[in-house]
């Protein structure tokens, strides 16, 4: 187990710049997730950590060893691939043992390791089968077993759950979390699914265009996004972005919204942003659907809560709640209400806007204010 340090790594393929100065520190035993849209460079970064790609400039340190120019096999790293990459011509036992055989581990020890890993992942009955005889979930576990048997310093996962169907994916997610809690290994994990990132990670690195947009705990990334991209990427359904004008109200600031012809002022919590230089200008208000709810009497009088009537354009019942699409400032706004409180399409209903967690962005730079 060791820490991993990525120091100002750049990676280009000819004229194409994929990674533009990535710096990350991972502490021992941490579960780090690299998340972002396709093309953001997360898989490339993972390959660089593994040594399957060379970095153009920058360093990668494992523990206190600079492994930037070491071959993959010398880095003491194990990787689980999206397609599992199990050797088709070997059975499960040999698949797991392969790496150990290469390292010339004595046969007896290899057998012990295989048994240990098989027990851990509950794949003992599968040991003599070939990969073609396994289901998707079983293959995934064998792939993990292969990685575990090596007892490396770091585990790398490249979208390991993407090939599973939705239900299995949720099950395996929990398994993976339990495994990490049990073994305490350092993990770097790549996914495009932000829910996976939120549920599994100790810290998340949100990437876009080859740059780490934000590196923080799931809650930090969720509540305190560094820019509009991170805010919009994390969370489902995604954050609402409303362009509103900043107004000054006696001692405080507010943003102005219009609904069904009437103007409302939503108060801005100074702890969330200082909008003093933006009076009269337009900013982007970021407010999550769960902050816009049906009217709950005990909340009405709270400091940063405003009641606004809206016209319902679309309703999407999800079972647990209903998402209501309303039109604010002539923009679409998604709100989350209790299924029984939701009105019908075309009707008007009262909503509470909770501004205590609202965030603000500059309209041009998309930076957080």
């Amino acid at each position: 187990m060791a820490e991993l340090k990525i120091d100002n790594v750049y990676k280009s393929f000819g004229e194409e710049h994929i990674l533009k100065g990535i710096s990350l520190d991972v502490t021992d035993g941490e579960f780090i997730i690299l998340v972002g849209p396709s093309g953001c460079g997360k898989s490339t970064l993972l390959n660089c950590i593994a040594g399957l790609e060379d970095v153009t400039t920058g360093d990668i340190l494992l523990g206190d060893t600079n492994v930037t120019y070491e071959a993959p096999k010398d880095r003491d790293i194990a990787m689980v691939f999206q397609s599992y990459a199990l050797y088709p011509n070997m059975n499960v036992r040999k698949n797991i043992a392969f790496g150990l055989e290469i390292r010339k581990m004595p046969k007896a020890e290899i057998a012990e390791e295989v048994a240990r890993v098989a027990k851990l992942l509950q794949i003992e009955p599968l040991l003599d089968r070939k990969p073609s005889q396994l289901s998707g979930g079983q293959r995934q576990r064998v792939a993990m077993g292969r990685a575990l048997a090596r007892r490396p310093k770091i585990y790398l996962f490249d979208e390991p759950l993407s090939n599973l169907d939705a239900k299995l994916r949720v099950e395996m997610r929990t398994e993976m979390k339990k495994l990490h809690q049990r073994l305490g290994t350092t993990i770097v994990y790549v996914t495009h699914d932000q829910i996976e990132a939120m549920t599994l990670a100790d810290r998340i690195a949100v990437m876009k265009g080859g740059i780490v947009q934000q590196f923080g705990t799931p809650q930090e990334v969720y509540d305190d996004p560094a820019n509009m991209f991170v805010a919009g990427f994390m969370g489902s359904p995604s954050m609402n972005f409303l362009r509103c004008e900043v107004t000054k109200q006696e001692k405080d600031y507010a943003v102005q919204i219009e609904s069904q012809g009437t103007i409302f002022q939503l108060p801005v919590d100074p702890k969330q942003a200082d909008l003093s230089s933006y009076v009269g200008k337009t900013v982007v208000l970021g407010i999550r659907p769960e902050q816009i709810t049906h009217v709950m009497p005990h909340l009405v009088a709270e400091q940063y809560i405003t009641q606004v009537p809206v016209k319902i354009e679309v309703t999407e019942p999800t079972g647990a709640d209903t998402l209501v699409l309303a039109r604010i400032n002539d923009q679409e706004c998604e709100c989350r209400v209790h299924p029984q409180e939701a009105g019908k399409v075309g009707e008007s209903m009262e909503l509470l806007f909770n501004m205590s967690k609202a965030v603000f962005f500059d309209e041009q730079t998309e930076a957080r204010l």
Binding site: D54, N66, Y69, A71
Partner: protein, 295 residues
């Protein structure tokens, strides 16, 4: 702590492994072609000489009526061979595409000639086409006394016998390629056309055949290549005769280089053959590389 890029064995080994083949390509392909071209500009006869004589050999070549005849034969043979093979292949492929029972068996029968050596093909067809013992005699014996089929000994017609034998050998192969191409067409396009009211004929002529362009090109290239190289077939079937009437460039080159001790002209003829192949290949490759492929 190493700061320089470690070039382990896995960096050198792949290059080492392909290096013999690289040497092969450089020497035996490019080097040899250059050598042959060089020789074509010398006055080599029995043995290579290195005295340059400019384009003399080429002039001699193109003033040689036998060479001109050989080139003409190649054109005649090439056009007919390629044309007939493509048509027969296409028609047979379309017919086979109609959900035939025993399709596998029929395909096997059509294709087996390609497994034979051209020498074997030439030998068999030589006797079949021999008027005194083959088809002509057979048909006469059936009662049609005035049947004549003596092309193979007729200097004006002999080249067409080469076409017959060549088509027999290669058309099954063309059919196999076209069948694979037909099968690769997206059925939904055909269904859309049928919904639009197109009948079977229209579907074939307006949709299927146009979308087989790449397959046509491939088949054309391969047939052209076989035609230009044709040596075995002619040797076995007619020996280049009667006289020189079925002479082809490949035979000319062989005889002048290895039997008549005229390396200079032989080399020149080889260079011309190479140019012909390139003249067909290069535009094809160019168009392949220019058009964006799917995916």
């Amino acid at each position: 702590m190493s700061v320089s890029r470690k070039k382990g064995i896995d960096y050198w080994l792949p290059k080492l492994v392909v290096s013999p083949t690289l040497v092969i390509a450089l020497v035996f392909f490019y080097g040899f072609v250059l050598w042959t071209t060089f020789i074509s500009f010398t006055n080599s006869s029995f043995l290579p000489s290195y005295d340059l004589v400019g384009f003399d050999q080429y002039v001699r070549l193109f003033m040689n009526p036998r060479w001109l005849n050989a080139m003409w034969n190649l054109v005649v043979f090439g056009v007919l061979f390629i044309g007939i093979c493509m048509v027969v292949g296409l028609v047979m492929a379309i017919l086979l595409d109609q959900n035939i029972r025993a399709e596998g068996a029929i395909r096997t029968i059509y294709l087996y000639p390609m497994a034979l050596s051209f020498i074997v093909t030439g030998t068999v067809w030589k006797w079949l086409l021999n008027p005194t013992v083959g088809i002509e005699k057979f048909v006469i014996s059936l009662g049609w006394d005035s049947f004549i089929f003596d092309w193979i000994i007729d200097p004006d017609m002999a080249i067409y016998t080469v076409v017959i034998a060549g088509v027999w050998q290669a058309s099954g192969f063309v059919m196999a390629i076209f069948l694979a191409g037909l099968r690769g067409i997206d059925t939904s396009i055909i269904k859309a056309a049928q919904l639009d009211g197109a009948n079977l004929f229209a579907v074939y002529t307006r949709i299927i055949i146009p979308s087989m362009r790449p397959v046509f090109f491939s088949a054309f290239i391969m047939l052209a290549h076989i035609a230009i190289k044709s040596f075995d077939l002619v040797i076995a079937l007619t020996g280049g005769g009667p006289g020189n009437s079925t002479d082809v460039p490949a035979i000319f080159m062989y005889q002048f280089s290895f039997q008549r001790g005229q390396l200079g002209i032989g080399a020149a003829s080889a260079v011309i053959m190479l140019m012909t192949v390139l003249a067909i290949l290069v535009p094809y490759l160019y168009s392949e590389l220019r058009t964006p492929k799917n995916g």
